[in-house]
């Protein structure tokens, strides 16, 4: 699957990365090379093979519904680029929605 410059531009948008035109060109070249390299996986017949997402197969790890200390308000905000002492602040999210 060849990756085109416009594919790369769409991915950059999806990944929230601003790329200049020059960077877009370089990135396209780099990704084409890497994707080509990775395509060697197609040489392998993996029909019937189960994917391995977790290397060691642990299951059923839970914690009890017992409250623990939260961060204080100042600790929660301490790393925020902008805040007003109560809330994190971002540029106005006008008319947009997240999802769900």
């Amino acid at each position: 699957m060849a990756i085109s410059r416009s594919d790369v531009a769409k991915v950059a948008s999806l990944a929230r990365l601003e790329l200049s035109n020059v960077e877009l060109d370089t990135m396209t070249r780099d990704l084409q090379g890497i994707v080509g390299f990775i395509s060697s996986l197609d040489e392998l017949d993996t029909s019937g093979v189960e994917p391995l997402a977790h290397p060691l197969g642990t299951q059923n790890v839970f914690r009890e519904d017992i409250p623990t200390d939260s961060l204080s308000l100042s600790e929660a905000l301490q790393s925020a680029p902008r805040h007003d002492g109560k809330y994190f602040l971002v540029p106005a999210v006008l008319g947009e929605t997240g999802s769900a």
Partner: protein, 515 residues
């Protein structure tokens, strides 16, 4: 002996006995760091004040007859990928340049309890992505054996720190070889534990199903001491194993008689530097002489290890790094500029085509991330995002996970015939800075011998087994089944009782701090 040349075991013993103070050891480390860091750039943050305070506290507690932790007085450096409360934790990235976490990583908590003295945070490839420590936003690390060469990565700072004797031990992290490979290139010993053996809580995530924290030191014995301290179940990490932690440092004595070590012929391709190949085979001979038997084995899917890794890791990384958006922490671009230019747009046109133009918020995200991340990080985020995007998941990520299972099966099959797998850790000795930075793929291939252990979740250790003709360290790697760290450490330790490669030191007297 100068405290800077003592091992962690020796310092721990001496401090416990009162032969030397924690303060002396810490001072020695700090002064060496001060003298050498300018040329090597191993440290991003040196916490002299904190270290001295810890040391003094240890000394007064000892004077009062209170009991001390097993690493009391031993200086340790921590890769800047691990969170240290209120101490800068940057992952060598502009994105986290000013980040001070409000908590310690699990392993850092353990080290503090053990009374180790944390001297500072070490340089690394940005967000642990790289094999040469040239991807740091704060300058590359230089290999103490040859300052024009790379120390390997991504734990290059920790490796260089230990190699240069700035501290006897350090913590690194290993996702595709980032402990073992720099250890190999810097002539030190580095261990990647079994996945889940050490808690990842507080380890800033690169690839969650591959990352592990591990010790780096000048000997397997020191690694054992550190591993004992940091390993163990953490209910705060769902992937943490419940298995008991053996007393690794007390399990080193047993002989290697009857231990079966596998040798993979396919490792010895034309890409492997002949000096490395020779040193590796000499190491096999040492093990044979020590009573082990060497067996030919095959790892049929090993050659797809790097492509598999370079799919799985970037996919997970693209996800783990989504949180760096300039909203709640980390770098945020100058939004005043964006707002001004949007206002200018509005005065020029009557209505902005809102489907075309990014909103201020989206632009904030895009610029913050573009400014905060270096080029390798961006490449991997792009690759991961692409591979996970609609329509590509099956062909890329899912396919990679299937190959991952085949790779793991190779290990399971191999370990029915042998107890350990031996071989090279790196195809070459340390390469010159700048040699591979122009070609991402060539840099990816430095992980050739190390990625499969992460994909399979098994343990691996690397240690020096020779010097090249030009005096550069050559490394050997042992890999073990899951939770077989006692055997790994014992085998490496036995090698280090028979040989003295691990005692060689780079010549640093001529090294001057940069003006």
């Amino acid at each position: 002996m100068h405290p800077g040349d003592m091992s962690a075991c020796e310092i721990a013993g001496a401090v416990a006995r009162g032969d030397i103070s924690a303060f002396e050891c810490t001072q020695a480390a700090l002064s060496r760091i001060d003298r050498l860091n300018g040329s090597i750039n191993a440290f991003l943050h040196i916490d002299a004040e904190g270290a001295i305070a810890s040391a003094r506290s240890i000394d007064s507690r000892r004077a009062r007859g209170e009991s001390l932790g097993p690493l009391a007085g031993v200086p340790i450096a921590i890769k800047d990928v691990l969170c240290t409360r209120n101490v800068p934790t940057t992952c060598a990235s502009k994105m986290l340049k000013d980040f001070r976490p409000p908590y310690d990583a699990f392993v850092v908590e353990r080290l503090r309890t053990s009374d180790a003295v944390i001297v500072g945070k070490t340089n690394m490839d940005e967000f642990a992505m790289g094999g040469s420590n040239e991807n740091s936003a704060f300058g590359p690390v230089r290999n103490p054996w040859d300052l024009s060469r790379a120390p390997g990565g991504s734990s290059g700072g920790s490796a260089a720190c230990v190699a240069a004797g700035m501290s006897p031990i350090a913590l690194g992290s290993d996702t595709g070889g980032s402990i073992r490979q720099p250890a190999g290139l810097c002539g030190i010993t580095g261990l990647k534990p079994t996945y889940g053996r050490v808690s990842r809580r507080g380890l800033i995530a690169f690839a969650s199903s591959l990352d592990q924290v591990g010790p780096m030191a000048r000997s397997a014995a020191d690694c054992a001491l550190v591993l004992e301290t940091i390993a163990g179940h953490d209910p705060g990490d769902s992937t943490s194993l419940k298995a008991d932690v053996p007393p690794y440092s007390r399990l080193l004595e047993e002989s290697l008689a009857g231990v079966r070590i596998g040798r993979v012929a396919a490792h010895f391709t034309e890409g492997l530097n002949p000096e490395v190949a020779r040193a590796v085979d000499e190491a096999f001979a040492v093990f044979r002489a020590a009573g082990a038997t060497i067996h030919d084995i095959e790892m049929p899917h090993a050659r797809w290890g790097v492509p598999t890794y370079y799919l799985v890791a970037p996919c997970e990384a693209s996800s783990n790094l989504a949180r760096y958006d300039g909203v709640h922490f980390g770098h945020r671009t100058d939004t005043a500029q964006i707002l001004a230019s949007h206002a200018a747009d509005r005065t020029q046109k009557n209505n902005i085509d809102s489907d075309q133009a990014d909103s201020t918020l989206v632009e904030m995200y895009r610029k913050s991330r573009a400014e905060g991340f270096g080029s390798e990080v961006k490449r991997r985020i792009m690759l991961g995002t692409y591979a996970l995007s609609a329509g590509y998941y099956d062909a890329y990520y899912l396919k990679a996970l299937k190959v991952r299972r085949l790779i793991r099966q190779d290990y399971l099959n191999a370990f029915e015939k042998v107890d350990l797998i031996g071989g090279p850790v790196s195809a070459t000795a340390a390469f010159p800075l700048g040699e591979k930075t122009g070609d991402p793929l060539s840099m990816y291939l430095v992980d050739l011998y190390t990625v499969t252990a992460n994909l399979a979740g098994v343990g691996g250790i690397s240690f020096p087994c020779g010097l090249s003709a030009s005096g550069l360290p050559l490394g050997f790697q042992l890999q073990s089944p899951a939770l077989a760290e006692p055997l790994l450490l014992r085998a490496a330790d036995r090698f280090q009782r028979i040989t003295d490669w691990h005692q060689r030191r780079p010549h640093l007297e001529g090294t001057l701090q940069q003006p």
